[in-house]
Amino acid sequence: MKKPLSVYVHIPFCERRCGYCDFVSCTETEKINQYLSRLQTEILAFDFSKYLVKTIYIGGGTPSILNINQLTKLFDCLPTCHGEITIEVNPNSLSRAKCEAYRAVGINRISIGVQSFDLATLRDLGRLHDVKQAIDAIKLAHEYFDNISIDLIKDIPNHRYVTPPKEILAMIKHISIYSLTKDDHCVLDTDEPVNLPADFMRYEVSNYAREGYESKHNLVYWTGGEYIGFGAGAHSLLNNQRFCNSADIFNYQRETPVERTPEDIREEQIMLGLRLRTGVAMTLLKNKDNDLKLLAGHGLVTLTPTHVIATEAGLKVLNQIWLRLA
């Protein structure tokens, strides 16, 4: 039996860096080929024979910055995958030709970095596209792909979250809406309502999907599945060890793996489970009856016979709930 595995590939290049983003990235696009050759060596050195690759995710950075030639080369060294294959794209670097190429290499899910449907917000975030370009990109992607996701940011000081237009909502299957953060803390105390149609289910703190369109790749992260990350700053969880590559883009190295203790795993599972609609298995909790009663009494969690599930109110103060339950 082969073990299931998910694969992440990091493309750390952008036309311009955005102030709110803390992923590893640079603007030295002339050195993409140099980076790709290191990346290929890394991928080819990995022994996939024991694994069944369930999902692949090409993230960034801006993966849509790769030209068709570069993209094809990358996919040549990636293992076969019959499941979800996602690529992150920016509205201004998507084209019909690229869409065709994506389909050709097997990509079946497009995640578009829209960020906002408000022009002033896009400008202040430092994005290179406007609202119209974003809408056009979604429409274009829709011609080629069924499974489309968009990223949005809300709770930005002095800006208003704008709900995606109806015609757009009709074309997409998944939305990630992040509260703006700085140093991992939400910038504002406010929590703007997302106003999505009821068929977008909030299945994770910041993720909404139509039924059956939850991100399979991300669910691997959130449910403790194994994944291997390739490229600068990419993280992996394999054989109960967490490890990552350094952030030095053209000379990244794998850093020392850290073995998780059973307590680490338990605390992680509680943290991740609380974020999910499926909740945390009661069996992970130790003597927390009083805390559960209190949290339920304040409407922060609902209790099923087997699970604890955070409510809408609870999702806003998840850290506090975790501190009570872990």
């Binding site: 992260y221 943290m271 103060v317």
Partner: protein
């Protein structure tokens, strides 16, 4: 015995007791100059750090005067008002006292009270004027003040600088010439005053004694007259200031006795030690001290209760005045109600618990001991507000009152009057000692001065005023118990007994303060102050609006866990009261209201 002098040094705090003691040790060659460490007799770190003397330390010095060798036994004493009790203990072991007066400050509140204590104990007073090296020194004025205010002749008082070692030989000369030698009979039955003790892991309790009659040596059977316990002496000796064993102690000597005494509860400070076969009449002893300030001390985490108990027991071995009993708080769990001689004493003990025993503790608001008369005619002593009977059962309260003496230059009289009156002080009288110094007498509830009175007095007199107080009985008073409710539940550890007249303003100030201290939590926390079920003030800690990590992907999980672990570590410093998390400093902060 003619060549023994037993004396102590008394003074107002900071007038130079410990420095003079150091110089005496140096000049008599007891401690070689190269081994001198400033304030040698203050052996606790805390004593050196704070520049105060807490424990008594007796030291034997040898001094050659006019061809004869004299034994000088010095008993250093603490100067702070909280430790008056320790001063009186050392006085009982001496024939004379050096009274140090600061040449720049003159006579202060405790100069006077300590001088009177010494006079009451029939001690010969030897005034010494210190700090003549300072530019502001006015030796002649201070000389006059000593005569006028204290009534002790001071014409011969040596003017010295303990710091620079000026005229120290004059002090030694006068100790020998003017202080009386002890009288006693070596051939009579052993009669020794136990004036202090400390615990040594190898020797057991080390009893500090002054022999009045008889002798004691290793192997003697001794008897503690008050407790009736008998022991066999395993070691006798004196301090140089190192513990130095010797063959025998005789009448007139000051030294120590060890007798395999395992616990300090087997002996009583102030007791008379005599021989087991032939006991003498007990010495009058001295006034037993009662704690005046009480506070609850609880471990922050409940499982440290055992450690806290051990720590208090160890401290008690060295500090006979420390008293504690078990108590339980619904909010804080198991802990102790601890009695102290005063607030400085309390601060020192809590600091030692934290530093020497590495314990994280919560100290509840200090309280004094009230007398409560109930409707059915019972009389209760209550030091813990949560032990009060129900309000409807209480007929009336009595609270402890003290006579407060404040010494001040005349320009601060108004400010000090206001301070004392605001604290429910009743003015008694005012005496002008000289042009620079006025003595204000007040009767004031002890409760009002236990927390920050001293600091306030210092600040409203620019540091010039000094104070002293002594218990002056109990007085009927309109007191009420004020409860603090968190989330609708009474938090017993925050209850206070306050005077009716200030209850409203205090309730308001307290709830406001708590609102600032208690961090936002998952849900709103109402804070209420109530008197007998009636809410008099309310504040609300608003619920946390948002505390969640927005993104969490593969690479983030480790980092997010680190963040959460950090938050978790912060929580450990919090105490859960019911469902509310309170930082431990909240309990101290509310004292500052």
């Amino acid at each position: 015995m003619k060549r023994i002098r037993n004396f102590c040094i008394v003074a107002h705090i900071d007038h130079g007791k410990s420095t003079l003691a150091d110089r005496l040790l140096e000049v008599t060659g007891t401690v070689a100059k190269r081994d001198m460490e400033a304030q040698l007799l203050d052996s606790m770190d805390l004593e050196r750090e704070r520049g105060i003397t807490i424990k008594l330390t007796p030291t034997r010095m040898l001094y050659n005067y006019k061809g004869e060798e004299y034994v000088l036994n010095l008993i250093d004493t603490p100067g702070h008002v909280d430790f008056t009790y320790e001063v009186s203990r050392s006085l009982a072991a001496c024939e004379g006292a050096i009274l140090i007066v600061d040449a720049t400050q003159g006579v202060e509140a405790q100069t006077l009270s300590n001088a009177y204590l010494a006079i009451d104990n029939n001690l010969e007073i030897l005034p010494v004027i210190n700090k003549i090296d300072l530019p502001a020194a006015d030796v002649e004025r201070v000389r006059t003040e000593i005569e006028q205010v204290i009534g002790v002749p001071s014409g011969l008082a040596p003017a010295i600088s303990a710091k620079n070692g000026t005229n120290i030989d004059q002090v030694l000369e006068q100790i020998i010439e003017l202080l009386p030698a002890p009288v006693g009979d070596e051939n009579k039955a052993l009669k020794a005053l136990l004036f202090d003790c400390y615990y040594n892991n190898f020797l057991g309790a080390v009893c500090l004694v002054r022999l009045f009659d008889g002798q004691v040596k290793v192997g003697d059977k001794i008897k503690m007259l008050a407790t009736g316990k008998e022991f066999e002496v395993t070691e006798v000796g004196y301090f140089t200031p190192k513990q130095t064993p010797c063959a025998m102690l005789s009448a007139g000597d000051v030294g120590y006795i060890c007798a395999s005494i395992k616990t300090v509860s087997e002996i009583k400070i102030g007791d008379t030690i005599s021989s087991a076969e032939n006991p003498c009449e007990p010495l009058p002893g001295y006034k037993e001290v009662l704690p005046v300030v009480f506070t609850g001390i609880y471990p922050i985490s409940g499982d440290k209760y055992g450690e806290l108990k051990d720590a208090l027991e160890k401290l008690k071995l060295n500090d006979a005045s420390l008293e504690f009993t078990k108590e339980t708080s619904t909010a804080l769990g198991f802990g102790f109600r601890v009695g102290f001689l005063g607030l400085l004493h309390m601060e020192i003990i809590t600091e030692r618990l934290e530093r020497e025993f590495n314990l994280d503790i919560i100290t509840t608001a200090p309280s004094v001991s009230y007398i409560v008369h109930t409707n059915d005619g019972r009389t209760l002593n209550v030091a813990n507000p949560s032990n009060l009977p129900k309000a409807v059962e209480i007929d009336y309260y009595e609270e402890p009152i003290v006579s407060l003496k404040m010494w001040t230059p005349p320009e601060y009289i108004g400010a000090l009057m206001d301070l004392a009156t605001n604290k429910r002080g009743v003015f008694v009288d005012m005496q002008h000692m000289d042009n620079n110094r006025t003595l204000l007498n007040f009767k004031i509830p002890l409760n009002e001065i236990v927390y920050d009175f001293f600091d306030r007095m210092k600040s409203c007199s620019h540091g010039y005023a000094s104070l002293d107080y002594e218990p002056a009985g109990y007085q009927r008073s309109d007191l009420v118990k004020m409860d603090i409710l968190l989330n609708g539940k009474i938090c017993d550890a925050l209850s206070l007994i306050v005077h009716e007249s200030v209850a409203y303003s205090k309730g308001k100030a307290l709830t406001e303060r708590l609102k600032d201290i208690i961090p936002r939590q998952m849900f709103e926390v109402p804070i209420q102050a109530a008197i007998g079920g009636k809410i008099i003030a309310r504040e609300t800690v608003k619920a946390l609006r948002k505390d969640v990590l927005a993104k969490c992907y593969g690479g983030d999980i480790t980092r997010k866990m680190k963040l959460l672990e950090k938050q978790k570590a912060g929580k450990k410093k919090m105490r859960m009261l019911g469902n509310v998390e309170i930082p431990s400093e909240a309990f101290v902060e509310i004292l500052k209201i």
